[in-house]
């Protein structure tokens, strides 16, 4: 995902701001990382360049 996605996304549960943490990046494309809700603390994974913003109970182990 590109960093400018941060302008529009929010926590799917309480709609609060997310904080981005990057573990792997490739030429402006965030490949692995996390999105953490600044309000409820829920952590959403970024895997293979794709943010997974499913509510946690729908996510299970969402990686391929």
């Amino acid at each position: 995902m590109k960093e400018d996605l941060m302008d529009i996304i929010c926590c799917p549960l309480d709609k609060q701001t997310l904080e981005l943490s990057i573990t792997d990046e490739d030429d402006g494309d965030i490949i692995e990382g996390t999105l953490t809700c600044t309000e409820c603390g829920e952590v959403y994974p970024i895997e293979d360049g794709i943010p997974n913003l499913l509510p946690p109970d729908m996510r299970e182990d969402a990686s391929a």
């Binding site: 995902m1 996605l5 293979d48 794709i50 943010p51 913003l53």
Partner: protein, 225 residues
């Protein structure tokens, strides 16, 4: 079975592309009607192969976001493009991870009726759309289109079967204005000669003509106030 499990399996079997090809027959006409401008942010719900946002990006928008509850669908969608103008993410219709008033227009093809609670999905859309933003909701699976009713028996997810009036009413209940409702004919699917019938799902050629050319795809357009 969950949406994730069901459609992850479809995606790994490559069904996303086949669906996209078939749905394109009517989806392209639906997309053509959307009043998008160069600076617009557009959302595609249940994006599947992600073709809709790619088509809109080719026409000219600021950014297209495809959201889907199946990580495998999103994985595929992402692999079909390198464009900076589109992005795909995993998420659910009822828990949209977008800020209020952040989207100019939304589109959905053959996906809306999978929402566990379609009313909640409409409320979420009304929340994320700007005032004046549209939701173009396209479905082949609807009450009047009787030939599609059997789809439910082939899938474990409970599907919403509304008729035309129920779509209008649900949109209004969620706060949308209803700007349009129409059936968009599929003029491209090939319909065999009469002597080939019955074929799977159709007793006669007339039935197949009715299913595709008459009932086609039901489009309901809502406008956020």
């Amino acid at each position: 079975m969950s949406v994730r499990e069901e459609f992850d399996e479809w995606a790994t079997r490559g069904k996303d592309r086949g669906m996209a090809d078939r749905h394109w027959h009517t989806a392209k006409h639906v997309l053509a009607r959307m009043p998008v401008e160069d600076g617009d942010v557009v959302l595609d719900l249940g994006t599947g192969s992600g073709y809709a946002v790619r088509a809109l990006a080719d026409r000219g928008i600021e950014r297209g976001y495809g959201i889907d509850g199946s990580p495998e669908m999103v994985h595929n969608a992402r692999s079909y493009t390198e464009s900076d103008d589109v992005a795909y993410l995993v998420g659910d219709f009822e828990y949209l991870p977008f800020e209020a008033d952040s989207v100019d227009h939304a589109f959905s093809m053959e996906a809306f009726y999978y929402a566990a609670d379609p009313h909640a999905a409409l409320s979420e859309l009304a929340r994320v759309l700007q005032p004046g933003g549209t939701f173009y909701c396209a479905v082949d699976y609807y009450e009047e289109n009787v030939y599609t009713h059997e789809w439910q028996s082939g899938i474990d997810i409970e599907m919403t079967l509304w008729d035309r009036a129920e779509y209008r009413q649900a949109f209004r209940e969620a706060g949308f204005y209803v700007a349009e409702q129409d059936t968009v004919p599929d003029r491209e699917v090939e319909i065999p000669p009469p002597e080939d019938f019955p074929i799977e799902g159709f007793e006669s050629r007339e039935e197949m003509v009715e299913r595709y050319r008459t009932f086609g795809t039901l489009l309901t357009v809502g406008v956020a106030p």
